[in-house]
């Protein structure tokens, strides 16, 4: 899902957590409640090998999602397909908590919305069923942008989910500020650093962008762009390469900008203070993703016409880009109607009519048909009628297909964030943060008996 409302989302999460976290005894009860339904399955149980036979007659599928307006899209399907009835439930509030609890209780839906970075975690929790027995599922490969398919198949031949939306990255630029100070819009990261210097020299209150140490998802997108692979699959083990040479290059680059105070580190992404800083013209660019195009339009309407969107600055001449956010619709364990689930899932995420409706809700499509939508080839008024989506479409096509998320990604992200925050406060460097994340990746996997080695 787009991270456009992280602030609001986190607030509701916080509110919920607070209810959980009462007295220490209550906290204990909270943890117990979370675990209350977990079952200890015996070693050797398998859940793979699914068959793909039509049920015959009418079936009903449950589909849990976080997309606003999904009821309209599903109504369209139900109207066209009376024998495959889809029922939806919005799980925006505590998506993974609800999914996790349902899995443990054996009441998971047939289909559920899962972010790319959560797929590996859920797969090692035995959450998915492989739909590759259905020819419609394997044939869908050509309908999606290549990197998204490699995520849902874990680089193998299984089909565990259909890609839904994506967050190909691009650079959002206040062209008026660049023009005012006579600085050219950067095309490479070297030019970007030079521009950072010029802008800050011209106006000491101005920085080229902000570095949010509490946003590992964003930083991971930057690593992805530089072909850094956080994990690799080999020898039936997780090869942990969080702290790779390519990652270190990205870390050192931002460390220099932070040390020289050319980027500020006091703004949290999508927080009210962040918008206030942009409103006061204190920040000149935003290293963002496709779903963010509406953020500035909706929060800073007065800056219409002052923004433009250009491709991510590149490392040398490599046009590679990265992804930040987006999600899939996964085939959940216990699914007894795989054939029908595949039919619906493929339609939902690649049929032009369905994808157009999702795009109206702000989702940037993962399907190739979606990238061709009329709405995505038109100019956008806020951005001076530029065809900004061409930039995102190119970005998506240039995303490394070999990037992989880890099974304890959330824990690794927290460790990375905590260490990046220390670096931003002058205590250590971003290189140290990568090392901390690498160590946490290995130790958190060891704690859960997941076979892993430093790659």
């Amino acid at each position: 899902m787009p991270a456009a409302s992280i602030w609001e989302e986190d607030m509701s999460i916080v509110a919920r957590r607070i209810r959980l976290a009462g007295a220490a005894f209550t906290a204990l009860a909270g943890v117990a409640a979370l675990t209350a339904c977990s079952s200890s399955s015996s070693p050797g149980s398998t859940s793979d090998a699914a068959s793909c036979k039509p049920a015959g007659g009418t079936v009903t599928l449950q589909y849990w999602n976080t997309v606003p307006g999904m009821d309209q899209i599903v109504a369209l399907w139900n109207q066209k397909n009376p024998t495959i009835k889809v029922e939806i439930k919005n799980v925006s509030n505590d998506q993974y908590g609800q999914i996790g609890n349902a899995l443990k209780a054996g009441t998971a839906p047939e289909l559920a919305q899962v972010g790319y970075d959560e797929l590996a975690n859920l797969r090692i929790q035995d959450a998915f069923v492989d739909a590759s027995a259905c020819t419609d599922a394997t044939a869908a490969k050509d309908k999606f942008v290549p990197w998204t398919w490699s995520q849902t198949s874990f680089g193998g031949t299984g089909v565990f989910a259909m890609p839904q939306d994506t967050g190909p990255m691009a650079l959002f630029v206040r062209s008026d500020i660049f023009q005012k100070h006579g600085v050219a819009i950067p095309k490479t990261w070297d030019e970007y650093a030079a521009a950072a210097q010029k802008l800050h020299a011209a106006d000491p209150n101005l920085t080229i962008t902000f570095f949010d140490p509490n946003n590992a998802e964003w930083f991971n997108g930057l690593l992805w762009q530089n072909s850094a692979r956080m994990y690799q699959y080999a020898d039936n083990k997780w090869q942990v390469t969080v702290d790779s040479t390519q990652s270190q290059q990205v870390a050192e680059y931002w460390q220099k900008l932070i040390a020289a105070k050319l980027v500020r580190t006091d703004l949290a992404n999508t927080s009210p203070p962040m918008y206030a800083a942009y409103e006061k013209n204190q920040v000149a660019t935003y290293v963002g993703a496709a779903w963010a195009y509406g953020m500035f339009r909706d929060n800073l309407p007065k800056q219409a016409g002052e923004w433009t969107i250009v491709p991510m600055p590149t490392w040398g001449s490599n046009p590679a880009s990265g992804d930040w956010g987006g999600s899939t619709v996964a085939f959940m364990k216990g699914n007894k109607h795989l054939y029908e689930s595949v039919k619906f899932n493929v339609w939902l995420n690649s049929d032009p009519e369905a994808v157009a409706l999702e795009n109206k809700q702000g989702l940037y499509p993962a399907s190739l048909a979606g990238l061709q939508l009329p709405a995505l080839s038109a100019g956008v008024p806020y951005y001076d009628n530029e065809k900004i989506f061409d930039v995102f479409a190119d970005s998506s096509k240039n995303i490394d297909t070999n990037f992989a998320w880890g099974p304890t990604q959330k824990t690794v992200n927290l460790a990375l964030q905590d260490a990046m925050a220390k670096a931003a406060a002058g205590n250590g460097t971003l290189r140290d943060a990568l090392k901390a994340a690498q160590d946490k990746a290995l130790s958190s996997m060891k704690d859960q008996a997941i076979p892993a080695v430093a790659g």
Partner: protein, 306 residues
């Protein structure tokens, strides 16, 4: 005489029609208490002695098995746990005395005849407690933010550049929110204790020539000592379970880590699917809380004449 002990015993055992009444009155309490308190606590305890094992390689299947004190050993090896405890300890050593001292002064002031419109002050001081903790923390986070805060603007205007969210200050910014939230509540507990002191004591003191000052420190404070101890125990528990204030401030300040307090650490570990370790952390926090609060009560019980 021989029947007397038997009658006594029957009453204790609660037999007869009276026993049914007791059960009827206690069930509404004990049933939810067992279901939502004892059972989860017991389950967490059980979880904390389990470890995860796995078969089948990279995407293998998990199961849990008995692990003895493995999870607890890990809690004590975890430097983040120690750091988070140290943080709340520092917080408590400073914030709890400050808050309770202010609460005591306010309660004593409310109790003097000197102060007019008492009910107004009582309500005003109690008001922050009516604000939910999360809302209070969000409100204060706006007052701390250099981008949005009128207070920061004002201080900037006179040449001060405070950084309420900086690495050194953020713990005290959280402490300030707690103090704002809870001082009125603690004041009210102390104030109601003051209200129950018989007027004759004051009259006697007056006749003996005691000043208002002497009445406050020599009569009122010793008499309400049990209330002060009670609020201290509540505050110790509250400090160890600190969560809302730092969790909200974390939304705008990266200087609060995901493991800032013991409860935040437990939550972070649970959200990473390591429920067994999270359970062990929670049990450890509970034991520490238990020891500290009962230790404090034991320590002060005699002196307060409890």
């Amino acid at each position: 005489m021989t029947t007397h002990p038997a009658r006594e015993g029957r009453r204790l055992r609660g037999g007869g029609p009276r026993g049914g009444t007791v059960v009827a009155f206690l069930t509404p309490f004990f049933l939810p208490f067992a279901l939502f308190y004892l059972v989860p606590v017991g389950y967490a305890l059980w979880q904390s002695f389990r470890v995860i094992r796995r078969t089948g390689g990279q995407f293998g299947h998990a199961y849990t098995t008995f692990g003895g004190f493995d999870q607890y050993a890990q809690v004590f090896r975890n430097s983040e746990f120690g750091a988070s405890l140290g943080r709340v300890a520092l917080f408590g050593i400073v914030q709890v005395p400050v808050m309770l001292f202010v609460a005591l002064i306010m309660a004593l002031l409310l109790d003097t005849p000197l102060l007019r419109i008492k009910s107004f002050f009582r309500i005003a001081a109690f008001m922050p407690y009516a604000v939910p903790g999360v809302i209070a923390a969000i409100m204060w986070s706006f007052l701390y933010s250099p981008q949005l805060s009128p207070i920061v603007d004002l201080l900037n205007g006179i040449g001060l550049r405070p950084d309420f969210l900086g690495p050194g200050a953020v713990l005290w910014s959280a402490a300030n929110i707690s103090t704002w939230l809870w001082t009125g509540y603690n004041m009210l507990i102390m104030f109601s204790a003051l209200q129950s002191i018989p007027q004759e004591l004051y009259e006697a003191a007056k006749i003996d020539g005691a000043s208002n000052w002497a009445v406050a420190w020599r009569i009122k404070v010793p008499i309400i000592a049990p209330s002060i101890i009670l609020t201290t125990v509540f505050s110790i528990i509250g400090t160890l379970q600190l969560y809302a204030e730092p969790a909200v401030l974390r939304q705008i300040s990266s200087n609060i880590s995901s493991t800032f307090t013991p409860n935040m650490l437990a939550y972070a570990v649970a959200s990473g699917n390591n429920y067994q370790q999270a359970a062990a952390i929670s049990v450890t926090i509970a034991v520490i809380t238990f020891v500290l609060s009962f230790g404090f009560m034991k320590l002060t019980a005699k002196r307060a004449g409890l």
